[in-house]
């Protein structure tokens, strides 16, 4: 049963992440949503390894997830820096206003 609970937790986390990222208007909140999504994916990955072997000892899954977490950390750094710069430049974080990419 624990297997399903793990998978469901990660699915819920991914769902929350995508929901947040697609409905919120504040760039910072979207960013938090993406982070939750990434956490869900990581959890999913490691729980699949757990389900397969029955113990948390699969080095491959662990190492990939650790790498992923590290990259996430970098992502946070870059993302927050960009968010900060966006705020300094445009004075807002509302993504409906930030539509410069459009032609």
């Amino acid at each position: 049963m624990i297997e399903y609970s793990l998978l469901i937790t990660s699915a819920v986390l991914v769902g929350i992440g995508i929901y947040m990222a697609s409905t919120k208007k504040n760039l910072l909140k979207i960013f938090i949503g993406i982070e939750i999504l990434a956490t869900g994916v990581n959890l999913n990955f490691i729980s699949l390894a757990f389900i397969k072997y029955g113990e948390l000892s699969d080095a491959l899954a662990n190492s990939i997830v650790i790498t992923s977490i590290v990259i996430d950390g970098v992502l946070v750094g870059v993302g927050l820096a960009l968010t900060l710069l966006v705020y300094r430049r445009y004075g807002t974080l509302n993504v409906d206003v930030l539509r410069k990419l459009r032609w």
Partner: protein, 684 residues
Amino acid sequence: MIDVLANLIWMAPFIIVFLLPLANKVGDRVRDAVAVSGGLISALASLTLGVDAMDGVISFGGSSLKIPYDLVMLKWIPIDGYNITFGVLLDPLSLFMANVVSLIGSLILIYSVEYMHGDKSILRYWILMNIFIGSMQLLVLGDSFLTLFFGWEGVGFASYGLIGYYYKDEKKYWIGPYPPTHAGMKAFITTRIGDVGLLTAIVIIFISSGTLNFMELSNNPEWAMVLAREGVLAVTLLLALLGPIGKSAQFPLHEWLPEAMAGPTTVSALIHAATMVKAGVYFLGRITGILYNVYWGLEEIGINIWSELQTFYIVVAFVGAFTAFLAASQGMVSDQIKKVLAYSTVSQLGYMFAAFGIAGLLIEHPEAFVDAYLTGVFHLSSHAIFKALLFLGAGAVGHAVESYLFKDMGGLRKYMPVTFSLMMIGALSLAGIPPFNGFWSKDAILHAAYAEGPFWVYLLLALSAILTAFYTFRMIGLAFYGEESENVKHLIEHGHPPHDPGPLMKIPLFILAAGSIVSGLLLPFLAGYFKPLFKFLNIEDLVFKEVVLFKFPDFLIKTVLSPLFGVAMVLVAIGIIPSYYIYMVGRTDLLKLVDGPLKPLWTFLYNRWYINALYYKVFVDGTRALSSFIFNFIETNGGGEATKYLYTEFSEQVRKLQTGLLRINMSYLLMMFILITIFFMVVI
């Protein structure tokens, strides 16, 4: 106990490096003492082991080892059946080299205490010097090519830092048109070219043998068979030779050494006498020892690799003999005391290369092979002693007259009698006059070249012997004889006449001078010492037979009675007599020859056969032209504009796909997610 001692030889200087910043806080004297102790501990340890190993067995602290012994310290890189270990190899060659390096190195460190006194960044100097000695010890003691390569690169790094020691590039430290930082860079880059070849060869040897350990390579000769069957043994060895050619400043990579004078004189002494350039000769000695065992090992199972080895050793002998001549000819016209010594180092290293080349060509005759091999090792040690003496003497002269140019010297004999007489001993040794050590070793090489080598090797070496005698006495004459120069007069007027250095600088000079008188006795002793290095050898057949020192009279009589002794004396006389008349007696009418008919030759030699200019033209200017081309046409003007234009156009088009609403982009992600889920549900 033995392993602690053996590792202390190379580790002590590195440990001192970490203690130095702390000692610096305590006080100047403590710092200097700690720095010197690095070399002294290393010297003590290597001396203990080296003397102990004289009978082929090291017995110390209750245990005994039969040399050659590979003292494996740890499993370094255990991968897929290959087992690269890290250890210390105790064999005659490594112990002998360790002694040369640490003894000469310690003397130079003691000398530095006075020489570098009051220098602002002396802590950096001490750290780099200790790294230098430690790396060199790691290089000579390492038991595998990989360990050797680590030491090799450490030496390269330390030499770069020390040659460019005066990194502010004050005008007085310039060597010709080059500032010290430039000289350091030149040394580093030039030796790097050789290192690429060396590394390639190491990888090839590893692929063919599965090991990098010297002992295993020497005991299991199959790797050479594999390479010889593919026809790449000679190529591999020649690639490996590029490393020593770069490090030991042989033609065609010799151009960095004359500029390596830019650092403090003690650094030059260390580079020339004990570390750095001796690394290449050591490598050649090491690989020659291995190849000898491999050759005879393969011979036992009926495989002959002679033709491949011959190709290799012909090149070694040619490079050595030609470099000896090339550098000696350039030394005749140099205007700076340290530069003369630099050229002479290149030239003497050429002698050592030639000795090993001749040895390799004699690989089929074990007795003659070992004789020639030992002359190379012997010349290495005697060169280390007299060159250190000459450099430290030159340092004392430079210290006194605050310049290294000959035009700022002259007539110093009266003011610096001790330095003069000690340098004279070094000069006599370098010129090859008995009974100083340089004579014995050089004569032994000439002997081997004449008796066994190709004749052109002997011819080139004999010509170089004439030139060596000439430029040595020219150096002494210009510095110590003749009229006082303006600079010296100026110093005297201001109450600072040139004077002999203080005790800390004088004592190492005295020890080295004594060394260059007595170490000529070393050769008969070396034969017994190096015996364990060679398998398949009946030591009784050697010319220099047993270890015993009292056999020396035999050796002496053999050398002196040989007709080659007379030839060598004539050669030296041909060199010295003109030099004596021009530079010591001051017959300036002979100097007019240089201004008149010999002017083109002088220009040719002074510009170093235009090899340096050629390298600058091709490599430095070529690289600059290429980079300016890339900058002007690829990065900025043509290419840059085109790239910018293409990207702008592309993004203009792609923008039209965008709505600019982040929410829509996120819903694409959600849709994709759902699609994939459905896909898997349907399929599975």
